[in-house]
Structure formats: structure tokens, C-alpha cells
Amino acid sequence: MKNKKRMSSMIFQNISVFLIIFFIFVSSGIYLFVSNTLEEITIKQNIETSKQINQNFITYFDNLINSSQYITDVINNKSINDNKDIKEIFELSIVIYDYVDEIVLYDTNYKLIANTNYTTIRTDWYDLTLEDQTMYHFHSEYNYYEKAYNGYLSRKIDFYNGSDYQTGIIFIKMNFDMILSITDNTNLGDEGQICMIDTSYNVIYTSNIQFDQINILKELILGNDTTIYNNTHLQVYLNTISNSPWRIAVFTNIDSIYEANNQLLITLIFTVISCILITMIVIHRISYKVTYPLGKLESIMKEIEESRIFLQIDNVDSNLVEISSLTSRFNEMIKEITLLIDKVIIEQKAQRLSELKSLQNQMNPHFLYNTLDSIVYLAETNQNDKVIDMTIALSDLFRVSISRGKFIIPLKDEIQHAKCYLVIQKIRYQEAFDYEFEVDEDVNECETMKLTLQPLIENAIYHGLRNRVDPGFIKIKAYKEDSNVVYEVTDNGYGMREEKIQELYSTFNNANLNDGVGMKNVYQRLKIYFNNKADLKIISELDEGTTIRITIPINREEE
């Protein structure tokens, strides 16, 4: 079987679990979306920046090639007189064009025509240039003095030597100062850098002298990637520089993405936790508000169940319509139940009275008949004194019996009644027994149920003293014990066995009201009238006698 849970904990648990899942779901969604967008935007921006840097390089090479084209055009002109003119043009050109450091011109037989410096050109470059004469060739060479690479541009050209058109090869040494000024102004963050590599992955130019990331470039060849260098996240952009076979690599620091992501994560976690806490507190409050009155209802019901005292619920301070209406319904129900119970009690009481009446009425006819018979006998035998005594006793007996229809009479009246009865019976049984009254003074005014003693005395005469040879003796006692009045009717008959006593007791509780002897009648009346507060006990000893003991409360409750 499933464990039953309290409603408040069920509400609290279910909503809490739902909320925690909801918050985690939403916040991880936000985190993923924002961090992805952030990364995407940053990388896109960095690519744009890198493209811009690349554009500067492209412009640089464009300018370089245009300048060399222009120089070529100038020397391919009939206004040239001799090689000296060409040298002069070259010298002028390196002053005009920032991109150009040196210019050298050879003819097709490796013969120097003109130069601005005394640099020797590698012959393999010469051959390469002649291999494809339709384009510019790019060369790079490490300079051990400058500890840097030099870049050269070469092309087969036509020139005028003062007398004839001639083919030759022009070499132009590049000046990277321009690029330097471009890259110096670009902020790429810590470890960020720009470098230019040739087709053999030689670093021709770098903005960072300690460059050792060539393997990343070798692997990437072209495109975008991210890498970690010196614990720094770097974005790498590697692309061709148009008009040249060389490539540009831009390393941009993207630690900011990860920092921002971490911050976002921390903020989100903090927000989510506080949200969860706040809502949990709110839910707890709400569930308490809903279930507290219910709990109170429940405990009151329990109390009612245990004590059978009908309480009203008040001070359930709930502003919830359902709860307050539930409470008022409950109160009404309790009221209703109380009314119903009262009604039942009144009805029971009425029924009891009618039962009592009928029980009391059961006793008279035989006795009256026998007594009157005795009086007639006495009168016939002229025992007039006894006739008088008996008649007076009978009249007294009936006066008390009737008592104007009351059930409760003063104890002294009950004693008087018993005495009258004994007077009558003693005359009837011709002094076959004797009797004694021992009534304490302080119980005389106590109230008692009428016709209590008489049946017990009757019982003692018929059952206790009958068939005796020696005279019997009956003792009637009345005294106060605690808050009770106690009657004792004792005879000196044969007594009863314990089994007989138990049998008698068992007949007391028999439902049939009409089959009993006098003692049962008394017992039942006592129970009807006093509930369990009154009692009847049989105490007997064989050959010694029997005592019937009745206990009646003095102050009986008003019912």
C-alpha cells in the first residue's frame, strides 16, 4: 500500500520538483542560447576584423604591384637613354613608393642592368620567374643580419635600353613598415597577433616576435579555428592575401567569451537558486495557509471522537473562501449533531419514565389482595387491635407508594414505607420473624427512589425466612458512605451459593422487563434512573444469611 502523505508536503514537494526542473530547464536554455550567440557574434566580429586587417594587406600588395607596374611602364619607354636613366628612375621610385625598398633589373642573361642597392639575387628566383612569365612571383629569404625575412617580387618585363626593346627580370624588395603601422594600431588582446606566412610556412612578418604557433597554421591551412596558447583562448583566422601566394594569420584573444560565459553562468546559478528559494518559501506559506485550517479541523474532529464533547471551531483565520465555508459547515454540523443528541436524550428519558412507571405498577395487586385477605381473617377472629394496626399500616403504605406520583421521595418516607410493610407482613406471618431498623439520623432527609426497600424485604421474607423452624430476623440499615446512601437488608436465612448469586446477576441484565422478581425490578429501575452510579450487590454466606446492599448517589445529576 502506498504511503499516505500530508497534503501540505505533497503540494510543497510536487510544486518544488516542478519548479526546480522548470528553472533548471529554462536557465540552461538561456545559458546555451546566450553563450552560443555571444560566441557566434564574437567570432563573427573577429572574422570581420581579421578580414579588415587582411584587406589592409591586400591593399598593400595591390599598391606594391601597381607601383611596380608603373615603374615597369616608365622604363618601357623610348625616352630612356641608357641604363643610368633606369637606375635614376629606380632610385626615385624607392623614394616615392613607401612599399618599395630596393629595385634590381637583370636581363635574360643574368646580367645586371640597374639596381638601387648592392643586393645579390638568388638565381633560382630568376629561373622561377622565367618559368611562368605571365605573373608576379613572390620570394622570401631570411636575413641573418636583420633577423627577419625579406620579401621580394619579381616579374619578366620589357624595357627600353636606349636603343632597343629588351626583356629582363625586375626584382622589387618589399618594405613592411606600412604593414607595421597598420598592425600596431590593431588591438587583438593578450597573445593576439598578426603574421604573414609564405607558401612554405616561413613567417615573413609577425607582430609578435616570439611566434611559435606555426603548427596550428600548418594544420589549418585555410579558415577559422580556436586554440589555446599560454592558457589563453585564441581565435585563428588564416586566409590568402589576394594578389599574392602568401597568407595572413590573425590571432585574436577570445578569453572574454569564456569570462562572459562564466559570469553569465554564475549570475544564472545565483538567480536560479534565489528564485527557487523564494518560490519555495512562498509555496510553503501557501500550502501552510491552505492546510493549516484543514489540520485544525482534523485535530478538533479527533478530539471530538476521543472525548465525545462537541466543540466549535473558532479562530480559524483563513481568508480562503473554501476553508472558511468548510469551517462554518463543520460548526453547523456539530450544532446539528448536538441538537440531535439532546433530542435523543430527551426521548430516552421519556421512554425511561414510562418504563419506570410500568415497573412500579407491577408490584401492587398480589400484595393488596393478600393483605386484605389477612385483614378479613383478623376481623373474623376478632383480633381487632391487629386489624387496626394492619389497616393503618396499609393505608400508610399506600400513601407513600402513591406519593402524588413522584418517583423520588425523602429517605425517611421510604423507611416509613418499609416499616408499614413489615408491620403488615409480621401480622400476616404470625410473628414468624423479627426485624430491626438501624437508620442514621443524617440520611433521613436524603432523597431516594421510592419502593426500593420493600421488594428487598419481600424477597428476604419469602426466600430467606421461609421454611425456617426458629424465628427469622431481618435487619435494615441505612447510612451514608462517601457521597452515597447505602441500604442494607440482611436476613439470617440459609444463604446462597456463589453460583446462585451469579445466576441472579445474569438475570438482572436480561432485556425482558416483565419476567423478573422484585430484586430484578429494583435493579433495573436503579439503572434506568441513576445509570451506573447506583448499584445492587448480593452478599451471602451459607447458613449465615444474605445481605442485599444498594448504593444510591445522594446528589444525583440533573438530567
Binding site: 578580414k51 587582411n54 604591384i65 607596374q69 622561377l128 618559368e131 611562368d132 612569365q133 605571365t134 605573373m135 608576379y136 613572390f138 607558401t199 591551412i221 585555410l222 579558415g223 577559422n224 586566409n239 590568402t240 589576394s242 594578389n243 599574392s244 601566394p245 597568407r247
Partner: protein, 328 residues
């Protein structure tokens, strides 16, 4: 229900993977769709290859960075690249990148360096034979001269005044065609006076502008040697506009001999009118056939050697001869 779903998914996977196996993905890159000849050539290549393969054609908008980007974006699921380079010198990086993914490349129209193309085993170049184009251009001038020297040398000074309309700087075809034609004329014994040489990037408008500039300086241009038809038509249109040319020459020779290359629709139209004297057909059909055969052979692992239908120069280069087209 679940079983049916799983079976359906499995069938799908099998079908899809099956499809992929059969359909090879080919990416064709053209440097600039506004270049009419390239546009025509590229679309023909696409059309022919599309019969057997899955072909995507991209325009690189005359920007090498765009071309690089397209390659980087497609490199994961491409089985073959057919590339018209924007910048010939960028071939080195591109080949290296594509080589790292073991994808064969066929270059067309723009020729990469020999040292670059040999980096990759399966890489070839298909293009027109620009030297021959130039020589044919010069031969046509020679032929006309032989008919009557005044057809060419209008002022009779025994010097041929030539205006050179060149395609694009560093384009092997532009440089080779021009050099070859001038060298050929000189070889044939003519004295050539180059009035001007102008780079017009293969474009009609720039050809028109170049003609305008040159005509204002030199009104008696005898020969215009253009690297392609588009620019030649631009020159002709300018000549017509200033009245140097008539609308049509049915039986006469125009005052300036204009010769182009390619054989585009507009070029052939002018040939019919007689305004464009001749053109050297850059054979789109044949070049496409070569490319299709190369693609088939590479995909079917057939060695490309002497058995190949076309002559292969230096193991990698296939040059297709041009063809002279004149009126009638």
C-alpha cells in the same frame, strides 16, 4: 507500432546512404558570373556534369576571399572541385587545403603554377591554348595583309599601328595571347607600333572606355587585338558611336581591323555584320568534354595517361586549340 517505425527509419537510412553512394557531389566555382564567357562555360560544365553527378555552381563575385569561404564551407561533403580561380597565385593555399581532405581538383580557364598544381596527385588544368590564340590572331592580320596591304596598313607607312585590349593583369590567357600575337607579327616581319595596351578585365564597358581614350589620341588605329569578344564589341560600339564604323560591312573591309577571342553570341553577331573581322573560338564544348572525361576517369580510378582523348602537357595541363571564325 514501434517496430514499424524502426523499420521505416532503417529503410530510410539504407535509402539515404544508398543515394549518397551513387551521387557524387561536385562543386563548380566561377570567379565572376558577370564575365559572359566564364558564365557560359561554367553553366555548360554544370549542365553536362549534372547528368551523372550532383553539381553545385557558385559565383565568387571576383573575390578570392569569397572563393576561399565557399571552399571551406563545402569541403566536408564534396567529392570533386572544379575551380576557376579568382586569383591565380592563391592556388597554392587552396590546393594545400583541399589536399588535406583528399579531394581531386580540376582547374579551368585560370591556370595555376606548375609547382602548385603538382602538389596534389589528382589535379588538372583545362583551358584554351592562349599562345595559339595569339598566333591565330596574328595570322589573320597577316592573311588580310597578304590580300591587300592597304586592308591593314591604311596609311601605307609599312608600320602596323596596334591597340592592345588586354583582359586582366596576371591572367595567363591575357598575357600569353597578347605576347604571342605581337611576337608572331614581329616574327612574320611586320614592324609593329603599339599605340597603347589597356587592361579591361574582360569587360565590355572597359573596352568601350579604352577605345574612347585611344581613339581620341590616335584616330588612325589600324588593328585592335582584343583578348576577348566582349571588350572587342565594346570597342566596336564606340567606333560606331563616333561614326568611325558603319553599322554593317557587307563586302568591304572596316577602317580598323578588330579581332577577338572566345566566340560569344555578341561577338558572332558582330562578325555577321562585318564589324568584328574575326574571332578565335575558345571552345566551350570541347573544354567541357575534357572536364567531363577527366571527372569520369578520376571517379572510376582510370589512370589519366596516353589513353586520354586529349593531349596532356606536363602531365597536368590540357590545352584546347582555338578555331578561327570569320564571316561566312
Amino acid at each position: 507500432m514501434k517496430k514499424i517505425l524502426i523499420i521505416l527509419i532503417l529503410i530510410n537510412i539504407v535509402l539515404l546512404s544508398g543515394c549518397r553512394k551513387d551521387e557524387k557531389n561536385i562543386v563548380v566555382l566561377m570567379y565572376d558570373e558577370t564575365d559572359m564567357f566564364i558564365n557560359d562555360l561554367s553553366n555548360t560544365i554544370k549542365k553536362e556534369l549534372n547528368i551523372k553527378y550532383n553539381v553545385e555552381l557558385y559565383d565568387c563575385k571576383n573575390n578570392q576571399l569569397t572563393e576561399n569561404e565557399i571552399i571551406l564551407n563545402t569541403i566536408q561533403d564534396t567529392d570533386m572541385y572544379i575551380i576557376n580561380l579568382v586569383d591565380r597565385v592563391s592556388a597554392n593555399s587552396i590546393i594545400k587545403k583541399i589536399q588535406s581532405n583528399n579531394i581531386p581538383i580540376i582547374f579551368y580557364n585560370r591556370e595555376p603554377n606548375k609547382s602548385d598544381i603538382t602538389l596534389l596527385e589528382d589535379s588538372y588544368y583545362v583551358g584554351g591554348d592562349s599562345f595559339k590564340d595569339g598566333i591565330l590572331q596574328a595570322d589573320m592580320v597577316h592573311e588580310l595583309y597578304l590580300q591587300n596591304s592597304y586592308n591593314v596598313d591604311k596609311n601605307g607607312d609599312n608600320i602596323i599601328d596596334v591597340l592592345l585590349i588586354k583582359g586582366e593583369k596576371y591572367h595567363q590567357d591575357a598575357e600569353k595571347r597578347t605576347t604571342a600575337s605581337i611576337d608572331r607579327l614581329k616574327e612574320l616581319g611586320y614592324e609593329v607600333n603599339i599605340l597603347d595596351h589597356v587592361y579591361c578585365n574582360w569587360q565590355y564597358t572597359l573596352g568601350y572606355n579604352a577605345a574612347k581614350k585611344a581613339y581620341q589620341e590616335y584616330p588612325n588605329i589600324e588593328v585592335v587585338l582584343s583578348n576577348n569578344d566582349e571588350m572587342a564589341v565594346g570597342v566596336i560600339d564606340y567606333f560606331k558611336e563616333v561614326g568611325h564604323f558603319e553599322e554593317e560591312y557587307t563586302n568591304t573591309i572596316p577602317p580598323t581591323i578588330v579581332i577577338g577571342v572566345d566566340g560569344t553570341t555578341s561577338g558572332l553577331n558582330e562578325i555577321n555584320k562585318g564589324t568584328l573581322y574575326a574571332t578565335v573560338l575558345n571552345n566551350i564544348e570541347t573544354q567541357t568534354n575534357v572536364i567531363v572525361e577527366l571527372v569520369d576517369n578520376i571517379f572510376n580510378d582510370i589512370k589519366i595517361d596516353n589513353t586520354f582523348s586529349y593531349t596532356i602537357t606536363n602531365d597536368r595541363y590540357i590545352y584546347i586549340d582555338g578555331k578561327v571564325i570569320k564571316k561566312n
